[in-house]
């Protein structure tokens, strides 16, 4: 090789590495024939780096301010009195003693509460946030056991709590349906997001009957509560007709709009901020405490702090409903699915629109020749149930993936092999191509990392001392979502950029990851990017739910980025090296713009702004409609592996090892992603082994409204959890990423149940798997 050629090669290499540092504009849509987000393949920038949380120092020092951490002068403290009947009316409500108690400022009941419109129930409008549509303290009617019937306001929390115990209420009970069995006969087809929870492909029943090998079993999952460690709390004040709420929320804009509707004021007269949220998981939406605190603040003319007691959280914030699922699988002798049937019952209330959609995972899981999926729902007179981490998939995969394990045993086929054999080429129901589906890679990598080959095929054949040991696996899955309408503000200054969007950081790492994304997109150092979120005054709205924030924010920032570049080129003038270029000809690098195919033609943002005499540029971009969802079947997957130990004497089940192998597109930040995956898995361990909200079916009352009676996993229950991922970008999403917040809880319970079966030979189909079921 000649020296001249070497020099040429060197020069080319330099140009390529410069170009590699430059980021062109991302597409304004994800449709067939389009190009992927240029960020998806970038290997050595901010993306994919294990950046520590940007809010870390504030959180570990106790200086991050949560909703109950905002003092206000002249503030009063609220305490709630809850109903003790399931249905009926209040016939006597004596507040005299409470009003006379020390420090009491006011007692609000339906008699003196401000007149309010009913809450807009979630999904009844794009910005509706209500957990149900029941009026809030407007009449004498009682709709569930635990409904607020009075709010006491006092100078101190101690005084308010005591006075609440002095409110004397007499009820007249009406017949209530609180037992699942009593309602069974009235089950009706369930609707979810405006669509029936019913799918059919071919004649599944006939195919099942004709199958060589069949599995037919019923699985049950109980009610659950989110149990974020932060109690639901609001600090509320009315300032010049503006309702100001320090909230713990995963939908600030929705809450502002909904409260505006209820109080009859424009949404911009309601300011909801929620910079830190002490855990959400679907539970930190709008419930009665928001309304009661705002109404009480209006009534007494003073700021109000309302922190629900832990019991109060269980009484007025809904959780996940119960399910009873029948799964029938038919296969030929080679294990190819001829029929997949998953159908069953869940319960909701007359005033909400959320049947637990446990069939969602089955829609795209396996290439069965015939499929029949159905959810029916009964209505009970209880507190409204709601979304909880991976609604549908978390409990639906328990049934489906337990049944797959049962089928594998019946066929004498390795459970992983059975699943791989039934991998679909296209979406089994709608025939759409998959945007990216690398679950087989995840299975192979997971099996190797976990040591699956050491699993004994014969159940109950491995024992150490008192402990029976087994391994199990299961598939987790969660769809890619991107809700329409998300907008972001992008502000560029000589020092850097700031993103403003009404999104939420509940610990998912959103703020950190989005700083990385924005820095990468704009060619800025991480320190030069700021992320403003958690305020209804910001553009948006972006709901923290459905694992869709990353995509929704990403798409909105892409749109804003395009506008920003356009604005920059508009002010660039003739003296810039970039003069005359169009947006599609430029890219971002090194804190400025360059010509896309000639990165040396570069000018910094600071220089562009200075020449134009501007201190900043601000644009607001709105993400495009989520057309990608119409063109591809988009899902993340996980291969879950569990090693369980069951005490042969006492039946105590414990998880000793766990590994999740994920296929979730590009991982933006391995450090925070690891925590998201582990967190989902750990909640899945709780789902498998201990969690249950116990409602006494005689009167509809939650009987374990505390963290000592409702068990969530403690440190001792949590082994070292390994997580690995394919890191294969999805070409049809912003950044190549799919959401990661919920998938960890899917498949986990089945992996545990299957490991327990392998350890003991006992198949437990009712969650939670407690020791009495294993004795």
């Amino acid at each position: 090789m000649s020296i001249a050629k070497d020099a040429k090669g060197l020069a080319q290499g330099m140009a390529q590495s410069l170009m590699a540092k430059a980021v062109a504009l991302a597409p304004d849509n994800w449709v067939p024939g389009g190009v992927p987000d240029p960020l998806i393949g970038r290997q050595h920038g901010h993306l994919g780096r294990a950046v520590s949380r940007i809010d870390g120092p504030l959180k570990v020092s106790g200086t991050a301010r949560f909703a109950a951490d905002f003092p206000m002068s002249d503030m009063v403290y609220a305490a709630i009195v809850f109903s003790t009947i399931a249905k009926g009316r209040i016939v006597r409500l004596d507040t005299v003693r409470a009003l006379a108690a020390d420090g009491v400022v006011e007692v609000m009941t339906y008699r003196n509460a401000p007149r309010l419109a009913p809450p807009p129930a979630f999904m009844s409008d794009p910005k509706a946030a209500g957990g149900d549509s029941l009026p809030v303290m407007q009449d004498d009617q009682v709709h569930w056991n635990g409904q607020p019937v009075a709010v006491v306001l006092a100078q101190t929390q101690e005084q308010a709590n005591h006075a609440a115990s002095l409110v004397d209420v007499t009820y007249e009970s009406a017949p209530a349906v609180t037992a699942f069995e009593d309602a069974r006969a009235n089950a009706r087809p369930a609707m979810f997001m405006g669509q029936p929870l019913h799918d059919e492909k071919g004649k599944a029943k006939a195919a099942l009957d004709a199958s060589a090998v069949r599995i037919d079993a019923t699985y049950r999952t109980p009610r659950h509560n989110h149990n974020a460690i932060e109690l639901h709390a609001v600090t509320v004040t009315w300032q010049d007709d503006v309702l100001r709420i320090h909230d713990a929320s995963q939908l600030v804009s929705h809450t502002a709009w909904s409260l505006g509707q209820m109080f009859g004021i424009p949404e911009d007269k309601v300011i909801v901020t929620s910079p830190y949220v002490g855990g959400g998981f679907g539970g930190k939406c709008m419930w009665q405490h928001h309304v009661l605190a705002a109404a009480a603040a209006q009534l007494c003319g003073r700021p109000v702090r309302l922190v629900l007691s832990r019991e109060g959280v269980y009484r007025l914030v809904g959780g996940r409903s119960l399910t009873e699922q029948q799964v029938s699988l038919g296969a030929d002798a080679d294990g190819r699915l001829k029929a997949l049937i998953q159908r069953g019952l869940t319960a909701k209330t007359p005033s909400n629109v959320m049947p637990e959609p446990f069939i969602l995972a089955a829609r795209s899981s396996y290439a069965a020749e015939t499929i029949e999926l159905d959810v029916h729902t009964v209505e009970l007179d209880l507190l409204a149930n709601t979304f909880m981490r991976a609604p549908g998939e978390s409990v639906g995969t328990f049934a489906l993936e337990s049944a797959m394990d049962e089928l594998a045993e019946a066929l004498n086929i390795d459970p992983i092999e059975l699943r791989i054999r039934n991998e679909p080429e296209v979406d089994p129901l709608n025939g759409l191509p998959f945007s990216s589906r690398r679950i087989v890679d995840a299975w192979r990598a997971g099996a190797q990392a976990f040591g699956w080959e050491r699993r004994s095929v014969v159940p109950a054949s491995r024992r150490e001392g008192e402990w029976l040991i087994g391994m199990g696996c299961a598939k987790g899955t969660y769809p890619y979502y991107r809700m329409p309408g998300g907008a972001a503000r992008l502000t560029l200054t000589p020092k850097g950029a700031s993103v403003g969007i009404a999104a939420h950081e509940m610990g998912m790492g959103t703020a950190t990851a989005q700083v990385q994304v924005t820095a990468e997109r704009l060619g800025l150092p991480i320190e030069a990017v700021d992320f403003e979120y958690g305020a209804s005054t910001l553009p948006g709205p972006v709901l923290a739910g459905g694992s869709q924030q990353t995509a929704a924010i990403g798409a909105a920032v892409i749109a804003a980025h395009r506008l920003l570049i356009k604005e920059l080129l508009g002010i660039i003038g003739n003296d810039s090296p970039l003069a005359g270029l169009k947006p599609d000809h430029v890219a971002c690098r090194d804190s400025g713009l360059c010509k896309r195919d000639d990165p040396e033609r570069h000018e910094t943002y600071a220089s562009i702004l200075a020449r134009a005499g501007q201190n900043s540029i601000e644009v607001v971009g709105e993400g495009p409609p989520p057309l990608e969802l119409m063109h591809w079947s988009m899902h993340s997957h996980a291969a879950m592996f569990c090693e369980a130990r069951v005490n042969a004497i006492t039946g105590e089940p414990r998880v000793s090892r766990f590994l999740g192998s994920f296929d979730c597109g590009r991982i933006l930040n391995p450090k925070t992603a690891t925590s998201q995956f582990r967190g989902g898995i750990i909640m899945g361990l709780g789902l498998a082994l201990m969690e249950e909200s116990q409602i006494d079916e005689r009167n509809g009352r939650v009987m374990n409204p505390s963290l000592s009676a409702y068990h969530v996993p403690v440190h001792m229950d949590v082994p070292e959890i390994d997580v690995i991922w394919t890191d294969i970008p999805d070409p049809h999403t912003p950044m190549g990423a799919r959401g990661i917040g919920e998938i960890g809880i899917t498949g986990t319970a089945a992996a545990v149940a299957n490991a327990i079966y392998n350890a003991t030979g006992k198949r437990v189909r009712d969650l939670p798997i407690t020791l009495d079921k294993l004795l």
Partner: protein, 175 residues
């Protein structure tokens, strides 16, 4: 008499019903200590009383007259972090951050218990002079602090690498 909080004396509340937790939060405006249950079931309110970890929600403030209380604000500040606080960031030992102050205070008290030779439920040899600083011991001893986000692995890693006696820390690093 008074309660000394992070080295500063504070007047004991007049109402004996006031918990140490509400005293810290509502009267002293030290909001780092969190209320997760107010029932002694979650550990979010853990503070150190004369160096021992306790639940401030089950403690009446008046009962701690004359005692010295350390809260997360007394452990380290955002600009001057305690090594354990830094380790929580490095190991991602939190997500939402709500249980974090309690976890950190609890861990500091726990490490002192181990140094003093207090055994735990999983300690094999009750007579041992030195208590092991194993992951299993840490998990048992930290079980009074719930975390719902599922940061357990990071929390235990942060504690193990920071608070273990030096020889064990060396072993830990070698692993």
């Amino acid at each position: 008499m008074s309660i000394v909080v992070n080295g500063m004396p504070a007047e004991v509340p007049g109402d004996p019903r006031v918990s140490l937790l509400d005293f810290l939060r509502e009267q002293l405006h030290l909001h780092g200590t969190k209320k997760g249950c107010d029932q002694g079931a979650c550990g979010a309110c853990t503070v150190l009383a004369d160096g021992e970890r306790i639940l401030s929600c089950l403690a009446l403030a008046v009962q701690y007259d004359g005692r010295s209380i350390t809260t997360i604000e007394g452990v380290g500040s955002a600009t001057d972090l305690h090594p354990l606080q830094q380790a929580f960031i490095d190991h991602d030992g939190f997500q939402c951050g709500y249980c974090t102050p309690g976890q950190i205070c609890s861990a500091i008290g726990m490490a002192d218990e181990i140094r003093r030779g207090v055994p735990s439920h999983v300690t094999d040899d009750l007579d041992a002079a030195d208590m092991p600083f194993s992951h299993e011991e840490l998990r048992e001893r930290m079980s009074g602090n719930l975390c719902r986000c599922g940061a357990h692995n990071g929390i235990i890693d942060a504690i193990a690498t920071t608070l273990a006696p030096l020889p064990e820390r060396a072993t830990e690093a070698a692993e």
